[in-house]
C-alpha cells in the first residue's frame, strides 16, 4: 500500500526530508533520436524549479516522463521514494500536469472537464463537484462553466488546464509552458497562484523558454540543452548570461566543427 503524502505533511517532515521527486539518470529516445539523456535532479516540497531550454532541448519529454505520460527508456523516477514507473497510480494522488498547449476534449464543457479530471484522479462524486466549483471561482472560469472546451480561446484553455491540474491538490505540479497565450493580467494571476501553491508546500516544475517567467516565480533553475542537464542551481542574477552561454557556445561549437 502506498500512502500518499499531502503537501502539509511533507512540509512538517523531519529536518532532512527525502526529496519529493528524484530523477536518477533518466533517458528517453523519441522519433529515433535521443531526446533526453542521463538526467538527474531532485525536488523538495515547496520548491519552484524552472526548467529552461531552447526549443527541442528535451523539456517537454522530461515533463511528460515526470507526469507519467511517457515511460523513461532508462533510469528511475522516484516520487516520495517510490518508483513511479512501477507504480503509475501514484500520479492519481500526487501529480498535477498541464501539458503544452493544454489539450482538452472539445465535446466537454468547462465544468465537465473539471469533473472528469476529478473522477480520473479517483475523487468521489461530491468531492469532485465541490472541488470543481472552487476551481471555477479561483480561476475565474465560472462564467464559462457551461461552454464547450472546443470553443474556448487558447488563454481560456490554458486556465482550464491549470485548474484541472490543481483540482486534486497535488503535491507536485508539472507545468509545460503555462504562460502560453495568457495576457499580462492572466500571467500576473498565474504567478500569484504558483507562489500560493509553493507557500502551501506544493513542489512546482515549470518549463519555459521565457527567462522573465523563471525569474518571477522560481527559486531554482535547471537548464537543459540537447537532452542533457547543463546547469542546476538556485536563481542568480547571472541567469541570462549563463543561459545564453550554454545555448550559444554550443551553437558556436557546432559551427566551428
Amino acid at each position: 500500500m502506498i500512502a500518499p503524502t499531502t503537501a502539509s505533511s511533507a512540509t512538517h517532515a523531519a529536518p532532512a526530508p527525502s526529496p519529493l521527486l528524484q530523477l536518477d539518470q533518466i533517458g528517453r529516445r523519441r522519433a529515433g533520436r535521443v531526446a533526453v539523456s542521463g538526467l538527474s535532479l531532485s525536488l523538495q516540497s515547496g520548491q519552484v524549479l524552472g526548467l529552461l531550454g531552447v526549443n527541442g532541448a528535451g523539456k517537454s519529454t522530461t515533463l511528460s516522463m515526470i507526469a507519467g505520460a511517457l515511460a523513461p527508456d532508462q533510469g528511475t523516477i522516484r516520487l516520495n521514494g517510490v518508483d513511479f514507473v512501477e507504480h503509475p497510480e501514484l500520479a492519481r494522488q500526487l501529480l498535477g500536469w498541464l501539458p503544452e498547449r493544454a489539450p482538452q476534449w472539445p465535446e466537454l464543457t468547462v465544468r465537465e472537464h473539471l469533473l472528469t479530471h476529478g473522477r480520473l484522479r479517483g475523487m468521489p462524486g461530491a468531492t469532485a463537484r465541490s472541488a470543481a466549483a472552487a476551481a471555477l471561482e479561483r480561476f475565474e472560469l465560472a462564467p464559462l462553466a457551461r461552454r464547450l472546451a472546443g470553443v474556448l480561446s487558447q488563454g481560456q484553455r490554458q486556465r482550464l488546464g491549470l485548474a484541472c491540474a490543481l483540482l486534486h491538490r497535488p503535491a507536485l505540479l508539472v507545468l509545460d509552458e503555462p504562460a502560453n497565450a495568457l495576457d499580462p493580467v492572466q500571467v500576473a494571476a498565474l504567478r500569484r497562484i504558483l507562489r500560493e501553491e509553493a507557500a502551501n508546500g506544493t513542489a512546482v516544475i515549470l518549463s519555459t523558454h521565457v527567462l522573465a517567467e523563471v525569474t518571477a516565480v522560481c527559486d531554482r533553475v535547471a537548464i537543459l540543452h540537447e537532452g542533457s542537464l547543463r546547469h542546476d542551481g538556485p536563481l542568480t542574477a547571472d541567469l541570462e548570461r549563463r543561459f545564453f552561454d550554454i545555448a550559444m557556445n554550443d551553437a558556436r561549437g557546432k559551427t566551428a566543427a
Partner: protein
C-alpha cells in the same frame, strides 16, 4: 472506479458529437422502412400462410428479417446486423485514435490509468450506445407483440446473436482505433476486417475452397445459427474469443504506446 470515469467521458463524447445521432437516425429510419415493407408482405400473404400447418409466422417473416437479411434476403438489404458492419467502424474510430490526434491520450496516461482500464472504459461506453440502438430497433418488432403471436425464444436467440455480433465488431473497431494513427484509417481498417470476418467463407467458396476452417472463421456462420434460434456454446464462445483477442491486442498496443512512443 476509474474505468467508469472513462466510460462516462466516452459516452459524453458520443452523445455530444452529431455523428452518433445522424447514424442512429438514418439507420433507424431505414430499419423502420424495412419493417413496414416486411409487415406489408406478411399481411398480404397471411391467409396463405395460415393454411400451412406449422408455417412461418410474424417472427420468421417480420421480426427476425428486420434484424438481418441473412436468412431470407429482402427488398432492402440492410438489417440491424448488416448496418452494424457500417456504423460500428464509424463509432469506434475516434475512441483512441481521436484521443491521440486530439492530444488528450497523454492526459489519461498521466492519470495513472493502466491501459486495460482505458480500453475497458471505452469499450463499455461504445457497447452501451450500440445496445441502446439495438433496443430502439427491437422496439418496432415488440410494438406488435400484444397483437400477434411472437416466438419469444427464437427472438431472444436472435437478439443474443446480434448483441454478440455488435460486441465483437466493437472490440475489433476499438482495436483498430488503438493501432491506427488517425480515425479515418481506423474506420477503414475496421470496416474491411468486419467485412472479411463476415464473408470469409463466401470468398473461399467462390475461390473453390469449401472447408470447415473458413466456415468456422466466418462470423455469419455463428450468427446464422443464433438467428435461426439455435443457441450453442460453440457459437457463443467464438464471439467471446474474438472479443477477448481484440481487447487484449488493444490493451497491449496502448501499453506499448506509453512505453515506446
Amino acid at each position: 472506479m476509474t474505468a467508469l470515469a472513462i466510460t462516462r467521458l466516452e459516452l459524453r463524447r458520443l452523445f455530444v458529437r452529431p455523428l452518433g445521432w445522424i447514424l442512429g437516425a438514418l439507420t433507424l429510419a431505414e430499419l423502420a422502412w424495412r419493417f413496414v415493407l416486411l409487415l406489408g408482405s406478411f399481411l398480404a400473404s397471411q391467409i396463405k400462410l395460415a393454411a400451412l400447418p406449422g408455417g412461418p409466422g410474424y417472427t420468421d417473416i417480420v421480426a427476425i428479417p428486420t434484424l438481418s437479411s441473412m436468412l431470407t434476403g429482402s427488398m432492402l438489404p440492410f438489417g440491424v446486423a448488416e448496418l452494424a458492419l457500417l456504423i460500428v467502424p464509424l463509432l469506434t474510430m475516434s475512441a483512441i485514435a481521436g484521443e491521440r490526434s486530439n492530444g488528450t491520450l497523454p492526459l489519461l496516461f498521466a492519470a495513472g490509468l493502466p491501459a486495460s482500464r482505458i480500453v475497458l472504459g471505452k469499450y463499455l461506453a461504445l457497447l452501451i450506445w450500440l445496445l441502446l440502438w439495438l433496443l430502439l430497433a427491437l422496439a418496432m418488432q415488440l410494438s406488435l407483440a400484444g397483437t400477434t403471436h411472437l416466438d419469444w425464444g427464437k427472438l431472444a436467440a436472435a437478439v443474443l446473436g446480434l448483441a454478440l455480433a455488435l460486441a465483437a465488431l466493437t472490440a475489433v473497431g476499438l482495436a483498430c482505433s488503438t493501432f491506427a494513427p488517425h480515425p479515418a484509417i481506423a474506420a477503414t481498417t475496421s470496416l474491411l476486417l468486419g467485412l472479411a470476418l463476415w464473408i470469409v467463407n463466401l470468398g473461399a467458396r467462390l475461390a473453390g475452397i469449401d472447408n470447415g476452417l473458413f466456415n468456422w472463421l466466418a462470423m455469419s456462420t455463428h450468427l446464422e445459427n443464433l438467428l435461426r434460434g439455435l443457441v450453442s456454446t460453440a457459437d457463443v464462445l467464438w464471439f467471446v474469443l474474438l472479443i477477448a483477442v481484440s481487447l487484449s491486442l488493444a490493451t497491449r498496443r496502448l501499453a506499448a504506446e506509453r512505453e515506446h512512443n
